[in-house]
């Protein structure tokens, strides 16, 4: 196992990804290489269908590239099996989805505690940790509400608490404000950025909203399966 750049939390090398559509395959990413250093906040922007969500899925170990290498925290995950990938997702990545993806059957507390249960932490401790995270996102008074009983902003904050409960070094957010009104969206982005600032959690946000992209330290533009750095401060 080769560790090249210890300061790079994410490192993609010559990633090409194609989806099989019937007999032929349709490429969505061509020879993409980039790295994100630990603690950086980074936006991935692009038109819909440009391949930016695919890029996030590859970083998040939800998908495997057709060719190229994916390194997370210095470890080559390209050829890891489904089990190792699941464990790596649990230990270093927190996901925030556009449609929140809370489990409707569980209340806020158990939704947040779920990643810790998969990590093998007993339920009482997991719930305690979950309550701490709900307090951090300002929802400790909603811990026994089901997702259906909460507003979109509240649900996304529960989802962020769930992403944070495992103390991940990387937060991946796919259009985290896509289903929220603009005021709530600003609050959510503010929350994500404050986590990035205060705890040094690396933040990668996929968005098509330039207002959000501008608040990140770095912006990567995906266009027709290739990336270019959009130069802003």
């Amino acid at each position: 196992m080769q560790r090249v750049h210890d300061t790079d939390l994410i490192r993609l090398e010559n990633i090409t990804h194609a989806y099989a559509t019937g007999a032929s395959s349709q490429a969505v990413l061509y020879d993409v290489s980039f790295s994100v250093p630990t603690g950086q906040s980074c936006a991935i922007v692009g038109a819909s269908g440009s391949g930016k969500s695919t890029l996030l899925n590859l970083i998040g170990l939800l998908d495997e590239p057709t060719s190229g290498r994916v390194l997370l925290a210095g470890e080559d995950m390209t050829n890891a099996d489904a089990e190792s990938r699941a464990i790596a997702r649990n230990r270093i990545i927190g996901f925030v989805f556009q449609s929140f993806n809370l489990l409707p059957r569980l209340d806020a507390l158990d939704n947040v505690a779920l990643p810790l249960l998969y990590r093998g932490i007993p339920q009482p401790q997991a719930r305690q940790a979950a309550l701490t995270q709900l307090e951090r996102v300002g929802l400790s008074n909603r811990s026994h509400h089901r997702p259906a009983d909460m507003s979109g902003g509240q649900r996304q904050r529960v989802a962020i608490a769930r992403a944070l409960v495992g103390e991940p070094s990387l937060l991946l957010a796919d259009e985290p404000t896509g289903n929220l009104d603009s005021q709530t969206a600003q609050d959510i982005i503010g929350l994500l950025l404050s986590l990035n600032r205060e705890r040094g959690t690396t933040l990668v946000v996929v968005t098509h909203d330039t207002g959000i992209a501008d608040r990140m330290a770095r912006c990567i533009q995906v266009r027709d399966g290739r990336i270019e750095e959009a130069g802003h401060a």
Partner: protein, 413 residues
């Protein structure tokens, strides 16, 4: 900043949900699945109920049948004597006596033998007449049939020419019901003769292989039958061979001997033990047939479980994706759905087993059989096969769920 965490990034030591959580989660999920879970559960419950009820009913039916035939000695041989064909009866002389001592000598394995002459007649005691069976036999009969006396003594070899009689238990009871107490010393009138009662038998039970149950008969010495019917004829010879190993071999020897003494008659020897074994085998077969019927019901229930689980996996595809993103390994997903199927089947199995037992009990109770006997094999077999069915039919949907990749599962349907 070097990251030490990378070393243990993918180590699976201690990873995965606790068993407590593994069990609690499916229960909670099924509870929320509501009516659909209840329907699948019902299928399994009916299957398990059928297995448990049918096995128990089969078991009790077997016991009941065995009870009826329990009176048949396990070392008894019954030789039935018949007139062959029709029209030749006049040509054959009646045989009213047999030298059973000679039989015991000829076939040493036979320890006791009793010929039977059978007729029916009215018997009158203290003015009350009873239509009953009159059985002529010898002093060996109690030894052959294990008859026990309630009062008095049985006929002995010195009674052959006396007018002595022994009452079967039911005969004495019938007079007792009519208000007449029969006891040794009483005189009963049969045909034109008066007989002195010398003993009363204890109930001996049924034996369908005997031409008449001794309980329902008045027993006379074989030689005395001539007083009641003009030409008595031996219709069967009962013999006892306590040596179980040679029981079957004695049968042709007995047949030959009786044929030799009663030329021209057709003799066939039956062995109650073989009959009993055959019947036990048959009712066991019947039990398994019923259990097989239950298994089919269980199979149908299993398909119900599979249906619910396939629907369950399809509807919760997104949830599977989320769980995978949060760190669920394929095996965690497989376990989740497999345990849901097993919990479903186990709940159904327990409910079905309880109802099955109640049904079997009710069936036995209202059939008027003797007390309900619990079949020990039925519960583990019924519940075990129900859970195995759930496991079997839950396996394929669970594996399908585990094989999904996170992107596939998270993609919008």
């Amino acid at each position: 900043m070097p990251r030490r965490a990378a070393i243990t990034l993918t180590s699976s030591h201690g990873y995965g949900p606790s068993w407590l959580h593994l069990v609690r989660e499916p229960v909670e999920n099924l509870r929320q699945l509501g009516r659909r879970a209840v329907l699948a559960l019902l299928g399994i419950a009916v299957g398990c109920m059928a297995v448990v009820a049918l096995l128990n009913i089969g078991h009790n039916a077997e016991r009941e049948a065995m009870n009826v035939f329990k009176g048949m000695g396990s070392d008894l041989l019954v030789a039935n004597v018949q007139i062959p064909g029709s029209g030749r009866s006049e040509a054959l002389p009646n045989v009213a006596t047999l030298d059973t001592a000679a039989l015991r000598q000829a076939i040493p394995d036979i320890t006791a033998a009793a010929p039977l002459i059978l007729t029916s007649s009215d018997a009158r005691l203290k003015g009350h007449a009873l239509s009953t069976t009159i059985l002529g036999s010898n002093a060996d009969l109690p030894g052959v049939l294990d008859l026990q006396l309630a009062q008095g003594r049985f006929l002995s070899q010195f009674d052959t020419h006396s007018t002595h009689a022994v009452l079967g238990a039911n005969v004495a009871a019938a007079w007792e019901n009519a208000g007449i107490h029969a006891q040794p010393g009483d005189r009963i009138q049969i045909g034109g003769y008066l007989f002195q009662v010398i003993g009363i038998l204890q109930p001996a039970g049924q034996n369908p292989l005997l031409p008449a149950p001794p309980d329902d008969a008045i027993l006379l010495p074989l030689e005395g039958m001539r007083r009641i019917i003009p030409s008595p004829q031996i219709t069967s010879v009962l013999a006892r061979n306590p040596n179980g190993a040679t029981l079957v071999q004695t049968s042709p020897a007995l047949q030959q001997w009786v044929e030799g003494r009663m030329p021209g008659y057709e003799v066939n020897v039956q062995i109650p033990r073989l009959l009993l074994e055959g019947m036990a085998k048959q009712s066991r077969l019947f039990s398994w047939l019923l259990a097989g019927l239950g298994s089919i019901a269980l199979l149908v229930g299993g398909i119900g479980v599979m249906n619910v689980m396939v629907m369950n996996v399809a509807e919760r595809r997104r949830e599977i994706g989320v769980r995978m993103a949060l760190g669920a390994r394929p095996r965690d997903i497989a376990r989740l759905f497999l345990l849901e199927a097993v919990v479903l089947a186990a709940t159904g199995a327990l409910a079905g087993a309880a109802v099955g037992l109640i049904m079997a009990w009710a069936f036995v109770h209202y059939s008027g059989w003797s007390a309900f006997s619990f079949s020990a094999a039925a519960l583990p077999l019924g519940i075990g096969s129900a859970i195995a069915t759930g496991l079997f039919f839950g396996l394929s949907p669970a594996m399908a769920a585990a094989r999904l990749t996170p992107v596939q599962a998270l993609r919008d349907a």
